[in-house]
Symmetry: D2
């Protein structure tokens, strides 16, 4: 027996119930479901469907259910096909007929999407708090590691010197944009569907402005069909999750490489590493590898639900029930990897000497070209001249830094004594004080900007 | 010979050039590239790298190139690996040495992403104009079709009556959110990378605030590593494209079904239909099917570039070159399907009589249950009672609308003469004047709201 | 304390354990893990690492663990990071030191992928049995529904008549190809990795041919790096799952449309339908909608793990641990939807009269064109002539079937009395006895072919 | 005017033609289209639709069109919506009325999928030839590099020694499975749809066995609905492309890391590297990065077309037209990256001394544990003992290889003089002569096996 089977002459098949039942997934919405029902009871009271006594009984009953939930006392039964029906059953068991009035004017169509919207708003807020924690760790590292020089890579070839702080700040600023995405996703979710009924609007003149206020929604959905059918806020949330997961996968990749013996730029804390069941010496950056790998999962959740939603007509089809598992999974993963990455960065050891050990003098090549430019050689020509010098150094196995002035002059008469300064490591950093560059004052400026962003 | 091969002793393989060459794809960025270069020349003038004469020659040369482009006179050569190198070559050919100074302090790393950001901003704006056009057509239809009653469906089963206007408005409001996404995507793109060099910042103190102002960017990127490495704005743009494509696929699905002989709710204009090479009678809603199918493509572009970007370390790897084809393709597709769908809706014929012909009286079942609720029967019980009545009607092949009062009373004593009004079609519509509902005054309210949104 | 932490000075963080722990997911591999360990113990006995007594104790201990598992008596503890470590712990608890010898020469790297390969082989076989059951139901329906005429659709426009049997058979034959894919996926999985150690091969000369034979693998992996690193068999399995899920989504789409009141071609059994929490009259084909929706999930699992695997270097990174959740989920979903769809088709009612009720005479248009071709009019011209006749019928609201000969002759002199036969419904079916066509004898031929395929 | 517009009263809109037109994409099928048409003409001759003269004219006309195509003389016009209509138009222009008879009994529905199946078979064969070329290069390298010792990595931590040959062979054997997938994809494509008409079968008794033989198809499609509707062979082909692209992305990742200064294990040939527009010293492994990045694209093509196909009902909708762009693009990319990777591997320089330079003595830890096992210590305990030794070495900054016997004995009394042999690099390799292991004789066995596979 189901709550909706008045017209049916035959019970559902057991396997049908298995595929149809969503309780295992949607039970995590219980708080939102009960909050929504309390607000709904208030609206029914206002429009005369419930008496004050019935309303009181319903609100009390719902609060008791929530209380039992928090205490771990709640028991679901096979009969419960989803969290909505389970709560309604529990309520009727507790308070009788008044409970049977709660679903008046409401459909699971508007109810479930109300619950999910409340949930998305909550978790997006939580994630942004975690991102903020991460940014604070990055800011801290940027301040601590301000003297550490890192070879900056393009194509994993040493390209130009940067400050390690500059690297940490790059992630801090990138995360600021990811926060913005979760704010937008929460805004997209911030519209009340309740009162839309199954598709045409509730049959009672409930005050939806009141419902929105009670539940903390910024907007009342303007159209009941759209309210029940739309899942674009879920796509946007899944996309936000995918976006940050990809960002973190990229920094994880760098730091996995930095953890190799060959680079030895950083060492992860034991607490964030694991060993091997076979090889006793192994200390592996599994935490970073899992962060990298989880990005695929978030991409899959997005691509999968997008495919599910594609071509599903209006107003509601059961296909939409497939929205919750990818959504919950992606949100869970983001909470997990933000937390883990924050701790990994907070606890890792920087090997400044390793970073400095193997600096490739060729990283100064652009600076040498820029030097020639200041002597009025066109850049494209300067690039070629320095290319030739680089080729010469490779052939002769000599260092760009130890080329004599006379050697350099064979490539261009424009070289002069002042080239010596250009060929010092620190000059290359100082040279980059353009806004956003890796020069010391630029980095200090970035730190100040970051403090403002993080309200510190 | 390449512009960067000073250190190379051997030319690229022809196949290497084929896989590496991006000109066929990125040549559409020529306007942005030249605009960016003109601004860059201004910045180089300011910091003394260029003389006024050199600057003048460069600006003049770039404008001539653009002019030749508009006139279709531009010729690329095999040597050109991308639009940036092509423009630089053309410039040097035109103005000589001064042209060879343009690339001073700049890298293709910051240059290309500047171009792409400019392009994304432009096209997102264009798409939003197309969406606005579509919304205007929908508003027009909502006003025209205000008296047409449509069976509303859930699970493709007739569920409750709605006004056809209510349906059109549901898409109008949904599109408003999609516009918001393109605004967000354009904002995400609205940050100047130029001046970041290859990763560490330009080696000259260019005024990046000036560059941002010249190029219309709201922000200067705060960190050169992030500026060169980040492609999250592309993920966001691809996600916005996927989101609207999914939305349109869902309405296209409905309207394909509505175009069937069995539904006959609408008929597409000949101009937006096609025939069959074999079956002379066929008139097919291909336009809608293509719209539906294109959603898969937009999902694929998103999932594909997300996979490409996943795990790509900092600061720049050539993997990132794969960003442009999915980006351009998704933006192209959205422009196309917005335009087509607008015209399809604008020109289709509504078959109001077909919509009304086959209305299922059971669509009034919720209203009957609501009626019992007003007689103080708990909704859950009322739902069961009406379920029984429905079962009876099916068994006896009779219509819910023609049930006599005495027949109804066998199911509940609460039925009275006033049930007759409930069983009329129009009552069901009138009954839904809750905010966002399909009732006439609610729909008029929505139309007023829509006019405000669209500034009409 | 972990089994691998000899070199560690500090315990893992709790959150690290949470992200790293895979027991919740991989515990379903317990049978495969124990089977694999029993075979491994045999190999260690052969090469002298184990004594006969130790071997006996290990095999006995492992069997007792499996037995407890079947009896539901097994308890895992927080310390267990995965099923392999859990089984090893349980074994050591049961039999002491001999248990501590089991992992000799083996790594979790080769162990886990051995387990997963065994599992994939098993479930692919199971799925193919379910597909066979489905095909048998389809064959049965094809035989039962042999006289039912169905309008065949392209673009959801009535196109040409087909037999309903022909439709059922189309799915039967398509499923045959999906079975082939699971056979291929199982073959791809059918290679023994055990003995590859963590990457370089076991340090003991275990007889891998013996292991393969014991575990039922067709092949021994030829290279230990490849054995440990490769997950292409998982991509292939996920792709096979996605492929069949897409196929079923397409037939589900048709049958959802057929279940609408407007089509009324079929009615689902109550056992495979559900009702509405709000609308008492509703009977919804949720089973079909869920089948359709699950395809998105299978696509997501494929796209997601593909993205995870992309760019993960050799030989093993923890990213690979993300293989099991999508794999298990897709296999579970396919088992579920195959079972459900089989039952839906087996129990649905066909409404032959509805299919015949609304046949569009224009479906005979191609036959009329073919008629003109037999009178020696070129087809392209015949297509145009019949196009004109169709246009005329639409304009005059008359039926193609009731056009008089004289009316037809106004479009072409080639029409003669024998056109009357062409304009009868049954002729159109009879006309399609080409191999694979919908003509009666062709369909009987298909049924015979299907019986052979299904060994019936 | 279109070839199908007999019933239309109004021309298509220009934008409708733009979205509907597929010529730009499908014109690459011209050879297959003409081959198919020649076979079709033969079938029409056999069943009396064409006279011998008409048949001769058609075949001759088609051959002339193909000839003009090869000579680059073919001109398409706006009127041509796809390659099928274009060829028919050209034929009619060339030979008049007989050409207008060619489309008798055929639909573009069965025609296009015939063309695509022929194309897939051809290109899969071509790709497998390219894979074979790659395998030959790998075999060659395996033979050349037989003495080179490579640190083998898990988690990018040095794990155990392997022979570089062993690494090359791992890719060779993995590619063998990818070839198998293209064979399966070609088999899935190897079924003749022609003769299925638009969905119900051709209206003439064409001999489909003859058609299959002429066109080289192994099977005749058993059911016309399935023949026209099914695109599973495209999903399988796209999946095969994604699979190999992922494989290559993983080896590309390794080799990008190996190309870094810090590893310096290999150096790419200049012909397969590129430089920087800004930094004169740069030599970047762009070829490998593009190979890695292309995997995302292949994943996207698969996910995208899977989403397009999901939920598209039978028998044919225009959504299916979206199959060709992802298909062609993935096949093109695979041809390109196979070719490039083959050349990259063939021409790269191995830096054996760099590989050997930095070998981590801890890579012998498993061998030491195995040593203790041979002294009858249980492996799990041996693992712990060696873990302690490793911890000691780290703390004392000493090498495992230089630990004295007395030092070792402090960790276990089982150590004896014979441990010295274990601590030599070459022993570790020799130790792995298990089947599939990296031991020298195992690798020679693999080379012999590879020769057999490649018929060398």
């Amino acid at each position: 027996m189901k709550m909706w089977d008045g017209r049916f002459t035959k019970a559902s098949d057991k396997i049908m119930e298995a595929i149809n039942n969503s309780l295992a997934v949607d039970k995590r919405l219980i708080e939102e479901d009960i909050t929504g029902s309390i607000a709904w009871a208030g609206a029914l009271l206002q429009c005369g469907v419930l008496t004050a006594a019935e309303h009181g009984a319903i609100v009390d009953g719902l609060k008791r259910i929530l209380d039992e939930h928090f205490k771990g006392l709640l028991r679901f039964i096979d009969f419960d096909e989803d969290i909505h029906m389970a709560v309604e059953r529990l309520l009727i068991e507790k308070i009788g007929d008044a409970g049977a009035k709660l679903h008046t004017g409401r459909s699971r169509n508007d109810q479930v999407v109300t619950d999910v919207r409340l949930y998305v708003k909550k978790i997006c807020g939580h994630i942004n708090q975690l991102i903020l924690d991460f940014q604070r760790v990055l800011l801290n590292r940027a301040q601590t590691d301000i003297t550490v020089i890192l070879p900056g890579y393009t194509h994993l070839q040493q390209a130009q010197l940067v400050l390690l702080s500059h690297y940490w700040l790059s992630l801090l600023f990138a995360l600021e944009r990811e926060k913005q995405r979760f704010i937008h996703a929460a805004q997209a979710a911030d519209m009340l569907p309740l009162g839309s009924g199954s598709l045409a609007g509730a049959g009672f003149l409930v005050d939806r402005g009141y419902l929105a206020k009670e539940l903390g929604f910024a907007l009342v959905s303007p159209n009941s069909i759209d309210a029940v059918a739309s899942r674009d806020f879920i796509i946007e949330t899944l996309s936000s999750c995918a976006s940050i997961s990809i960002l973190l996968s990229r920094y994880a990749e760098d730091m996995i490489i930095w953890s190799s013996k060959e680079f030895s730029f950083i060492e992860l804390d034991d607490a964030w590493s694991t060993g091997s069941s076979m090889m006793p010496q192994k200390k592996n950056p599994d935490s970073l590898e899992l962060i990298r790998g989880k990005a695929g999962r978030c991409i899959g959740n997005l691509a999968g639900f997008a495919a599910t939603l594609k071509g599903v007509g209006l107003v509601y089809y059961k296909d939409l029930q497939e929205d919750k598992e990818p959504l919950f999974d992606s949100l869970d993963q983001i909470e997990l990897i933000c937390t883990v990455f924050t701790q990994v960065v907070a606890t890792l050891s920087v090997r400044a000497e390793s970073m400095r050990r193997d600096l490739d003098p060729f990283m100064l090549a652009t600076d040498v070209a820029d030097y020639l430019v200041t002597k009025n050689m066109p850049f494209r020509q300067a690039h070629k001249v320095v290319g030739k010098i680089v080729g010469y150094c490779i052939e002769k196995s000599c260092s760009l830094q130890t080329m004599s002035l006379s050697q350099l002059k064979e490539f261009s008469e424009l070289f002069d004594n002042d080239i010596a300064v250009v060929l010092q490591w620190d000059t290359a950093i100082l040279h980059r004080d353009v806004e956003g560059g890796t020069g010391g004052s630029s980095v200090l400026h970035q730190i100040a900007l970051a403090k403002t962003l993080l309200n510190q």
